[in-house]
């Protein structure tokens, strides 16, 4: 793990990159990384995340600034701008059931080719997918998802990069931290090693590549 300045961390993310962003309706999303992506004028990013939040918060800021060309998410209903840009053909939106989305990301981070889920069997979600029967029950084969970068927001990070999360700000964060080539973390508090007890470490230090220095 290396510590890094905010602008250097975001400078690594090239236009057209595929990034996973933690958060659920912007709760647990790194607003600092989001603001810097907008400031640096990134374009054509593919974002994999639970939702696109709402205008003015979290991923909603990326939508408003025209940073994103494709979204893979479970819900965009609370951000009218996402829907407008989708209808206008400015962004492509792939909608994935939430439990399937998080398991596809988990599979990507855990070395699995995909997962079998009953969710979506016989619905529009099944289109183009393989249905596999196991012990008389039907499942869809949902393939793994990985990304170039994961933008993770933690509550505590120690100097080595061990992470813990706060309440409902955990959501997608520890799962995406496993599923990207480069993992960039911001934290509410950066603390000495040992402050997070081993039993309370949720994301172990070796999976974190960069910890953004606090100001």
């Amino acid at each position: 793990m290396k510590s890094i300045a905010l602008q250097d961390a975001v400078a690594m993310i090239r236009d057209g990159a595929n990034i996973m962003i933690g958060g659920f309706m912007a709760v647990g999303t790194s607003e600092r990384l989001i603001d810097e992506l907008v400031r640096q004028g990134k374009r054509n990013l593919t974002v994999i995340a639970n939702d696109t939040a709402m205008p003015g918060r979290g991923i909603g800021k990326l939508i408003s600034a025209g940073v994103i060309s494709r979204v893979i998410a479970s819900h965009i209903g609370l951000n009218p701008e996402t829907q407008q840009q989708m209808i206008a053909g400015k962004i492509a939106v792939d909608l994935v059931p939430q439990g399937t989305l998080i398991e596809r990301i988990r599979a990507g981070g855990f070395g699995l080719g995909g997962i079998l889920t009953p969710t979506g069997v016989g619905t529009v979600v099944e289109e183009g997918k393989r249905r596999i029967e196991v012990d008389g029950k039907d499942y869809l084969l949902e393939t793994a998802l990985r990304a170039d970068f994961a933008l993770v927001h933690a509550f505590l990070a120690d100097y080595l990069g061990n992470l813990s999360y706060a309440l409902t700000a955990r959501n997608f964060n520890p799962v995406i931290a496993m599923a990207a080539d480069t993992v960039i973390v911001t934290a509410e508090h950066i603390v000495p090693v040992g402050v997070i007890a081993p039993d309370h470490v949720v994301t172990p230090a070796p999976v974190v590549d960069y910890l953004v220095a606090n100001e």
């Binding site: 659920f24 309706m25 912007a26 709760v27 647990g28 639970n50 939702d51 939040a53 709402m54 998410a73 479970s74 819900h75 965009i76 209903g77 609370l78 829907q83 989708m86 909608l95 059931p97 939430q98 439990g99 399937t100 998080i102 398991e103 988990r106 889920t117 009953p118 969710t119 979506g120 069997v121 016989g122 619905t123 529009v124 979600v125 509550f155 999360y165 706060a166 309440l167 409902t168 700000a169 955990r170 959501n171 997608f172 964060n173 520890p174 799962v175 949720v202």
Partner: protein, 216 residues
């Protein structure tokens, strides 16, 4: 009593102490306000919380304690938090005793459509498909009709949320179940007749000789 209160109060009768229950947005949310005294429920928010409590008073909220709509909530004693993979493991893995969701249409066999209106409303399914596919018991809370049109229909014109039939539909007029894959009138709301329900339902409804009235 308004429609929302009738529906929420009737669904609250389905709750028993110790159950793990997920409430969707809209009418389902109000079920939490009508939990009978002495009944302790674990409410799940699929963003990663069991033990969801009421909305805290102003000044007592925390930005990292929110429900599935991103709104501030409180956590009751014994609450726990976890990531989204765990949250949906609870939902699909047979650990969730009951889910209460809103509905756009339910067909004669009990299959639900509640996540999109093609060309009009494409918000995404969020957790709805996992909840209907995975919960032990699925209860739909909805108004019986929309702009005078029945919502319990012969065939859904809207895309299904899941092929798994729901267990119970509760409206301001009736409680309907689907034994043997057939929509069946189980209860009527106070001062509503079985004929009223049939007149407002497009799907063929099995009406037993005696239909009890809802107790609220």
């Amino acid at each position: 009593m308004d429609a929302q209160t009738i529906i929420a109060k009737r669904i609250a009768k389905e709750l028993h102490s110790g159950m793990l229950v997920n409430l969707g947005i809209g009418i389902p949310t109000f079920v939490a306000s009508h939990v009978p005294a002495g009944v302790n429920i674990f409410f799940q928010s699929e963003n990663g919380l069991i033990g969801t409590g009421p909305i805290p008073e102003e000044g007592m909220t925390h930005p990292t304690l929110t429900d599935a709509a991103g709104q501030p909530v409180s956590a009751l004693p014994g609450a726990s938090t976890f990531d989204s993979a765990m949250s949906f493991g609870l939902i699909r893995g047979g650990h969730l005793d009951m889910t209460v969701l809103g509905g756009l249409q339910v067909d004669a066999q009990g299959r639900l459509a509640n996540w999109m209106i093609p060309g009009k409303m494409v918000p995404g399914m969020g957790g709805a498909m996992d909840l209907v596919s995975g919960a032990k018991r699925v209860v739909v809370a909805m108004q019986h009709t929309a702009k005078g049109k029945p919502k319990i229909v012969k065939q859904c014109s809207l895309p299904f949320t899941s092929l798994r039939p729901v267990d119970l539909v509760v409206t301001e007029l009736a409680v309907i179940a689907f034994p043997g894959g057939r929509a069946t009138l189980v209860e009527t709301a106070p001062s509503v007749s079985a004929e009223d329900v049939v007149a407002n339902t497009e799907a063929e409804l099995v009406v037993p000789e005696k239909v009890p009235e809802m107790t609220l």
